[in-house]
């Protein structure tokens, strides 16, 4: 144990440092002077490795494949439906007129009622006509194309 500690704390002498420097330089030169075939193979290996890096597009694909995108679409559709259903007034009820245009809106409602009443009057006129037509139908004919227009 003490021998190991001595080695760990040992400082290499100058000759050892110079030896290591020469060996390192020799190895570095051999690495820099690799043949073209090996350098080409290393370059291809590097490009192949870099091509395998995870891409943002692959992340998007994985999001689709994991179902996050369909789930998001369904959630968005539900939000849209809830929004429109919440805005729609209950069936048969009238919304309160707003403070800004309440008078005009109310006038339109009154006009609509008047229009409906006049329509009801037309219906009364039509019933009179149908009663008259039923009473005179057997004697006057259609009145069209019978040659008595003059």
């Amino acid at each position: 144990m003490s021998h190991r500690n001595n080695e760990e704390s040992a400082v290499m002498d100058t000759a050892s440092l110079e030896f290591e420097r020469r060996v390192a330089a020799l190895l570095a030169d051999s690495a820099d002077s690799l043949d073209g075939r090996t350098r080409s193979a290393l370059t291809r290996a590097r490009y192949a490795a870099l091509e395998k890096a995870p891409q943002p597009s692959s992340r998007a694909r994985s999001a689709i494949s994991r179902g996050w995108l369909p789930a998001g679409a369904v959630a968005t559709a539900l939000l849209v439906v809830v929004f429109f259903v919440g805005q729609r007034p209950p069936h048969g009820s009238l919304s309160a007129p707003s403070a800004a245009g309440g008078v005009d809106d109310f006038a339109l409602v009154i006009d609509a009622d008047a229009f409906d009443l006049s329509n009801d009057g037309d219906m009364d006129l039509d019933s009179d006509f149908y009663e008259w037509a039923a009473a005179t139908g057997g004697t006057s004919g259609t009145g069209l194309g019978d040659g008595n227009n003059s």
């Binding site: 290591e20 060996v23 020799l26 190895l27 690495a31 290393l42 290996a45 870099l50 890096a53 891409q55």
Partner: protein, 202 residues
């Protein structure tokens, strides 16, 4: 050496100029520069450890792939120890696999490569020793042979410190051991190499 960038850029890929942010592009370019800067030394380290060019290429490519896939989002200052730790693990796995394959093949009766009875294979190696090789100009071959005969941990410590230039802390992180162990392995490696090759280097 390497700037620290925002870790939130996790998983950004390389050089997709069209839609990546400037920071992400810079991070990708920095990752590419890092790999380009270490690939040759990493190959030499793997080649010395595996003694096989194709295996060394495979080990370097695997280390690059794993770094890009798993640690590209890390700050650039963390890449060197991470990369060399991955590489060392890969080298060790391939060495084990090669050892197991060799043992299995040696047991197969139809193994044509079994030369245990071949008198030529059993004859002493007539190749000159390290000193003779150095004197004959085969400096690199002798150095590689000496490095290959080192224990794995000593070889790792020596190559990471001397060839790659990692400091003690980075080397310890790459080797998965304490800084004291790195100093011990490195010191012993230098002493052994000097003993084997020192006649030439004096």
């Amino acid at each position: 050496m390497f700037a620290t960038l925002n870790p939130s850029m996790a998983g950004m890929g390389p050089l997709k100029e069209g839609y990546l942010s400037d920071a992400t592009q810079a991070h990708s370019r920095e990752l590419e520069r890092f790999l380009a800067g270490v690939e040759r030394k990493a190959y030499r380290i793997a080649q010395i450890g595996l003694r096989n060019e194709q295996d060394a290429l495979d080990a370097v490519q695997d280390a690059m792939l794993q770094l890009v896939r798993s640690y590209a989002s890390r700050p650039a200052a963390e890449w060197p120890p991470l990369f060399y730790r991955i590489l060392e693990n890969r080298i060790r796995d391939m060495q084990r696999r090669s050892t197991v394959r060799g043992r299995v093949m040696s047991w197969l009766p139809w193994n044509s490569e079994d030369d245990s009875d071949d008198p030529v294979a059993l004859a002493p190696d007539p190749a000159p020793g390290p000193v003779a090789q150095l004197q004959g100009g085969e400096i690199m071959a002798a150095l590689e042979a000496a490095l290959a005969e080192l224990p794995a941990r000593q070889r790792q410590a020596f190559l990471l410190r001397s060839l790659e230039g990692l400091d003690v802390a980075q080397t310890a992180q790459a080797m998965g051991c304490s800084e004291g162990s790195v100093k011990t392995h490195h010191f012993r490696a230098v002493q052994v190499l000097r003993a084997r090759l020192g006649d030439f280097w004096q």
